[in-house]
C-alpha cells in the first residue's frame, strides 16, 4: 500500500508540475481561473448582461488568500486527524495478539 500510494502521489505531483510547465509556455499564460474565463465568455455572448446581484461580502485580497489557506488547512487537518487516528488504532490492534481480528 505504501509504495503504491507513494507512486500515485509522485505521479500527481508530476502531473501538476508538468501542467504548470506546459501551461507557462502558452501565449498570455497568467493562470487566471477557468471560472472567471467562463464569466468573460458570457460578456462576449451577451454584451449587455449585467450581474443583477453582487457579493454580500468580498474579502480584501490578502484576507481572501488567508481564508483559502484556512479552508485547505481545516480540510487537511480533519482528514489527517482521521487517517492518523485509524492508522494508530490498527497498529495498536496488531500489537495485541489476544485482540483477535
Amino acid at each position: 500500500m505504501k509504495a503504491r500510494n507513494g507512486g500515485l502521489l509522485i505521479l500527481a505531483v508530476v502531473l501538476v508540475v508538468g501542467s504548470f510547465l506546459i501551461g507557462s509556455r502558452q501565449k498570455g499564460a497568467e493562470f487566471t481561473g477557468a471560472d472567471s474565463q467562463a464569466m468573460e465568455t458570457i460578456a462576449v455572448l451577451q454584451q449587455d448582461y449585467q450581474p443583477w446581484f453582487g457579493f454580500i461580502w468580498e474579502p480584501p485580497p490578502e484576507i481572501a488568500s488567508g481564508l483559502f489557506a484556512l479552508q485547505a488547512a481545516l480540510g487537511a487537518g480533519v482528514l489527517g486527524y482521521y487517517l492518523g487516528f485509524r492508522r494508530g488504532q490498527a497498529q495498536a490492534r496488531r500489537k495485541r495478539p489476544d485482540a483477535g481480528d
Binding site: M1, R4, N5, L8, L9, L11, A12, L15, V16, G18, S19, F20, I22, G23, S24, R25, Q26, K27, G28, A29, E30, F31, T32, G33, A34, D35, S36, Q37, A38, M39, T41, I42, L45, Q46, Y49, P51, W52, F53, G54, F55, W57, E58, P59, A64, L67, F68, A69, Q71, A72, L74, G75, A76, V78, L79, Y82, L83, R86, R87, Q89, A90
Partner: protein, 228 residues
C-alpha cells in the same frame, strides 16, 4: 465550476435553486439516518467532507495556462452513496460563497447541482458500473472521481449555455464555447483528483476495514442493490 454571484439571470437562478433544494433535503435526511444507524462512520463522513473542503480550495495550474480546482466529491459518493454528498458539497459551496466571494448565493443552486449532485451521481454510477464489469477497485475509483469531476464542469457549461445561448449558433454553440473553456483546463486536474482519491481509498482499505464493511464498500460485483 463556480458560477459567480449574479451571473445567472434571476429565472435560471431560481429554477436551479428549486431543482437543487429537494436533493439537499434528501441528503440531510440520509446523513441524519447514517449518523443514527451507523454512528461508527461519523468520523469517516467528516473525513470525506474534509477531503472535498481541502481539495476545492486548491487552485491548480493546467496545461492551458489557466487554473482551476478539483471537486473532491467522488470519494464521499463512492463511500456513502451520491445522495450523502449533496449536503457536504452545499456546505463547501456556502463557505466559499459567503467568505471567499467565490461562487454566490444566487448561483448556489446551480453550483450545488453541478458539484454536489451531478458529479457525485456520475461518480457513483461509474463506480458501480465498472465494478460490475469486474474492473479492479483502484481503476473503478480513479475513473469515478475523474469522470465525476468532468461531469461537474460539463454541467456548469450546460447551465451557462442555457442561460446565454450564442446569438448565431444557439445553445449548442454556446455549450461548446463554455465547455471549451473548462474541458482542456480540467483534463489534467481531473486525473490528479482521480489519483488522490485512489490514494485515500487505498489507505482506508488498509486501516478502516470495519467502517468500509459497514458501508458495504467495495460494492459487491453481483450483490443486490440494497443501498442508496
Amino acid at each position: 465550476m463556480h458560477i459567480t454571484e449574479g451571473f445567472l439571470p434571476p429565472l435560471h437562478a431560481a429554477v436551479w435553486t428549486a431543482v437543487a433544494l429537494p436533493f439537499i433535503v434528501v441528503s440531510a435526511c440520509r446523513v441524519n439516518r447514517l449518523m443514527r444507524d451507523q454512528p461508527q462512520t461519523k468520523l469517516l463522513l467528516a473525513a470525506a467532507g474534509a477531503f472535498a473542503f481541502m481539495i476545492s480550495a486548491l487552485k491548480l495550474p493546467s496545461v492551458t495556462g489557466s487554473c482551476s480546482h478539483a471537486t473532491g466529491t467522488g470519494l464521499g459518493a463512492a463511500l456513502f452513496g451520491p445522495s450523502a454528498m449533496a449536503l457536504l458539497g452545499t456546505l463547501v459551496l456556502l463557505f466559499q460563497a459567503l467568505l471567499l466571494a467565490h461562487g454566490g448565493i444566487t448561483t448556489l443552486g446551480a453550483n450545488v447541482f453541478s458539484m454536489a449532485i451531478v458529479g457525485p451521481w456520475i461518480a457513483y454510477a461509474v463506480l458501480r458500473g465498472t465494478q460490475r464489469l469486474g474492473a479492479p477497485l483502484a481503476l473503478s475509483v480513479f475513473l469515478a472521481a475523474m469522470l465525476g469531476n468532468w461531469a461537474t464542469y460539463l454541467t456548469t457549461a450546460g447551465q451557462l449555455a442555457l442561460a446565454f445561448p450564442d446569438p448565431a449558433s444557439g445553445i449548442a454553440g454556446s455549450f461548446l464555447k463554455f465547455a471549451g473553456v473548462f474541458a482542456p483546463t480540467q483534463l489534467p486536474l481531473a486525473v490528479v483528483e482521480g489519483l488522490l482519491t485512489v490514494v485515500i481509498v487505498n489507505f482506508l482499505r488498509e486501516y478502516s476495514g470495519e467502517e468500509l464493511r459497514s458501508l458495504k464498500f467495495p460494492p459487491q460485483t453481483l450483490a443486490t442493490e440494497t443501498r442508496l
